[in-house]
Symmetry: C2
Subunit: 220 residues, 2 copies
Amino acid sequence: MLTYTVWVASSKDRRRTGRRPGASGTREAITDAARHQFAELGYDRATIRGVATEAGVDPALVVHFFGSKQRLFLSVMTLPFEPEEAMPRILAGRRSEVGLRLAQFAVGILEEPKAQRVVTGIIRAATSEPEAARMVRDLFAERVVGAIAEGLAVADARLRANLVSSQVIGLVMARYVVRVEPLASLPPEALIKAIAPTFQRYLVGPLEAQGAGAPKPGAA
Amino acid sequence: MLTYTVWVASSKDRRRTGRRPGASGTREAITDAARHQFAELGYDRATIRGVATEAGVDPALVVHFFGSKQRLFLSVMTLPFEPEEAMPRILAGRRSEVGLRLAQFAVGILEEPKAQRVVTGIIRAATSEPEAARMVRDLFAERVVGAIAEGLAVADARLRANLVSSQVIGLVMARYVVRVEPLASLPPEALIKAIAPTFQRYLVGPLEAQGAGAPKPGAA
DNA sequence: AGCTTAAGTCTACGTGCGTTGACTTCTTAT
DNA sequence: ATAAGAAGTCAACGCACGTAGACTTAAGCT
């Protein structure tokens, strides 16, 4: 028979220090709290003390587990997908719908709360912590660029990846950071339809055309 | 005859305190330094002390002039254009080229160093200082939305303004904050051509079409 | 049972920051 | 000539933060 020991803080309880009985799940609590704080407050304003409070824990424990604030950030902000695995899947298939598939993938990922916090946290942190900016640069410039170059056999793969990145970053900023309405509350399906053609042209459409985004038949 | 007194700091000079002789131009130096620091470092990491150092001035003088860090930010980050004046000019004219005109305007503004710092500073600050986020929300959601609704007589004016905003914000982030290549070094003309069709569709194109960004003839 | 290790708290150090108040020097208007 | 005010510096306060170290309690292995 398994027994669960529940830790209840009490003012009468003299033992406040030391290990808590049973499986505490504290590490996960810290992880969740950190993701929440980083996503909501940005890197600088999120504090170890704040994370500890939200997790119901002493600040020193956060350091004990993760070493430092920067290491905490890196440990907690791991992408919920692998670009090297996801991109080829998206780029394969009918070329005329690659933008739609990418839009579905991106918006879909961002609907998942944990993933949303990770992506928002990383992009937000990129504005203050250079290490995070490097992550974004690496992610959007290097990791997806290879996939695009290989998967689409298109010229200007780097630039195309940059353009897609800029729209994704802007979307996250507008929808989850600045929270501008009605975009912030737009249902996923509507959002997908709104941005899919943009991705489509950035990925496989003409980049120098002055026209109104109407590529030659068969080009997109 | 006008005489210019040049202040040269010297270790032999005993008078280090008090007003400096002549017109010092100190206030402008502080303004420039503040814009530079806010744009380069973001709101939180830009410090009054750092601004003062770059301006060659005591930190207390910055406070003396501007009152507080937040007031300094607001005083210094004034838009280099009036949306209420600029947007109608952009939206008027041939409807099929409204996206191009907007792209030319936006990219053109951002080529000017001072304007670039202001816009970058505001967007960057929006990720940490709620007051700055409010500025962005106001600017992109309210001020341009009226112009679009009136100037284009189109449905979903708010959403269209949001979408344009998201691409502008993402562009600034990718090009000036994260600095991802080759986008960061892309010549203005190429950038304009790359994003004009996106603006075009966001402004007057169909938003629900699943197609590849090829609107019905005459619609865009 | 006993020993090692992991989980957890407490206290406190040092740093950098925004901001304040007292003081000094120069400009300007009377 | 002089007084008022603007421009400018200096020193310091108080606060919040990241982090370190000593200590305590529970878990796990032999």
